[in-house]
Amino acid sequence: MELDLDTIKRIVREVITTRSDEIDCGKCFDELDRFADLVLAGKNAAEALPMVQDHLEHCPECREEFEALYEALRTMD
């Protein structure tokens, strides 16, 4: 199995942007509803919850769930 170019780029960027401290999936999940509402309201969610933003940039599964949640909320609003 060989990786495609986009995946390789994403993995390398994830590695090089790793910070000294990150929250885990549990802590990200705890804050995800607050983060989603901030994004929906057009507020700077990344500034308000920087550790959540960082986790979403490094965790594909949490990012996938956030994107699905956001898409659902945005469509229903």
Binding site: M1, E2, L3, R13, T17, D33, A36
Partner: protein, 209 residues
């Protein structure tokens, strides 16, 4: 559906009776609607699946009511739980028969050499090859066995974190810590190899549109 404030949702759902039953009906309908949008791109998800996900999520909402902090809309909090239930099940189905054997594969077989990037000029292309070469070396030499296994399984093979955690006899949060530690080591190795963060980001940026 009755419009409810956060306070009204938690109050209506708290005590058994017709008020709670009505609130549960409304919340179930809300979750089904949300899941239909959230899962729209997953063609394998059926209407019956969505009903099952909503039902499981409803139970989690009820048992988790005391933990709702009111920092978001109640419905956003509930939808978050429903989406998580749905994705947990989808990943379980996708990966249930896959073990970790493939995650023992050497990284050299997974990171292509040479990398083919049509958007890269010669100099950028050369930089990409050097960085990937350093990554392959770091993967093989810097990580512990568990870090290597976790990184290959989750990040390279794309396996579900729950599945990998189960196979490694750990939990998802501990697995995330393994992956974080692996990334830190890989990053440190790239930096000590002489690449700056900017070098790496520039070499692996998406092509300009």
């Amino acid at each position: 559906m009755v419009e409810r404030s956060n306070w009204r949702w938690t109050a209506d759902l708290s005590e058994p009776g017709p008020v709670r039953d009505a609130a549960l009906d409304d919340l179930r309908a809300e979750m089904v609607r949300g899941l239909s949008y959230a899962m729209a791109r997953h063609r394998e998800v059926t209407d019956a699946d969505i009903e099952d996900f909503a039902q499981e999520a409803l139970l989690k909402v009820l048992s988790g009511l005391p933990s709702f902090r009111g920092e978001s809309r109640f419905t956003t909090w509930a939808h978050k739980i429903a989406v998580h239930v749905a994705y947990t099940e989808l990943r379980r189905r996708r990966w249930r028969d896959v073990g970790l054997d493939e995650a023992a594969a050497p990284a050299s077989g997974l990171l292509p050499q040479p990398l083919t990037d049509p958007s890269a000029q010669t100099e950028k292309h050369a930089m990409q090859q050097e960085i990937l070469s350093a990554m392959r070396r770091a993967l093989s030499e810097e990580l512990t066995d568990r870090q290597y296994q976790a990184f290959i399984a989750v990040r390279i093979m794309g396996m579900s974190m729950e599945q990998v955690a189960r196979n490694m006899n750990t939990n998802r949060n501990a697995l995330y810590k393994l992956l974080f530690d692996a990334r830190r080591k890989l990053k440190r190795s790239l930096l000590t190899s002489g690449f700056s963060s900017q070098d790496v980001l520039s070499a692996f940026a998406d092509a300009a549109v």
